[in-house]
Amino acid sequence: MLKQDQNSSEIIERLTPIFRDVLDDDDLVITPATKADDVDGWDSLAHIHLVVSIEKAFKMRFTAEEVSSLENVGDLVTLIIKKTD
């Protein structure tokens, strides 16, 4: 569990600049509980930019099903960990 938590915080650390860049908010703080509704500007177009940017940064590809099932940043982190293992 400790390793999982460590991975999660490392991934959120890597995700933060991506979210800040795409959503144009230098002060944005994301947590596992963060949802699109919580963040100004996280609309469908921003979501597409986020997905593409995250795929590039983490050198992985998601499927449409994987992305549509995500409810918050924590789900995204879990997906990234799953695809990394």
């Binding site: 177009l45 979501h47 597409i48 930019h49 997905v51 593409v52 795929e55 590039k56 590809r61 998601f62 499927t63 449409a64 994987e66 992305v67």
Partner: protein, 139 residues
């Protein structure tokens, strides 16, 4: 014989397209009127020479219009919508020159139905502009 791919499957990493084009002085004048950019670097040969150029420079965003053509006109269907562009202007381009635009699909995100292209404008093989075009595909 296999059916040709259609829809989203018609797009694949590495797919390429390109075409030859040119802009006339009249095209430049039209862009000047539409954009409201009357800077003499684009309109006055004498002024352009004082800046070290042989002729007025083609407007950078007129060159970038080829990115619009790429996404709107040259893809396998009409479902792509331009969502972002970048363009670096490396060498000058002038009116009535034969130019070439080439693009390659470098990013295809199945998850987001998003496309990313790398693009280049050349004259006789010399790179004038490098850029990117991003699009979302909505069938």
């Amino acid at each position: 014989m296999a059916e040709p791919l259609s829809g989203w499957d018609a797009y694949h990493d590495g797919m390429r397209c390109g075409w030859d084009f040119r802009f006339s002085s009249e095209n430049m004048h039209t862009f000047e009127q539409l954009s409201g950019d009357h800077n003499p670097i684009h309109t006055d040969p004498v002024f352009a020479r004082t800046k070290g150029f042989d002729a007025p420079l083609i407007y950078g965003l007129l060159l970038a219009s080829q990115l619009s053509r790429l996404i709107g006109q040259e893809l396998p269907d009409n479902h792509a919508i331009l969502t972002g562009i970048t363009m670096d202007f490396i060498n000058p381009a002038f009116a009535d020159e034969n130019l070439r635009f080439d693009a390659e699909l470098v990013t295809k995100s199945d998850a987001a139905h998003a496309l990313g292209f790398k693009c280049r404008i050349t004259r006789a093989g010399k790179t004038l502009c490098r850029g990117t075009a991003d699009a979302v595909w909505r069938a």
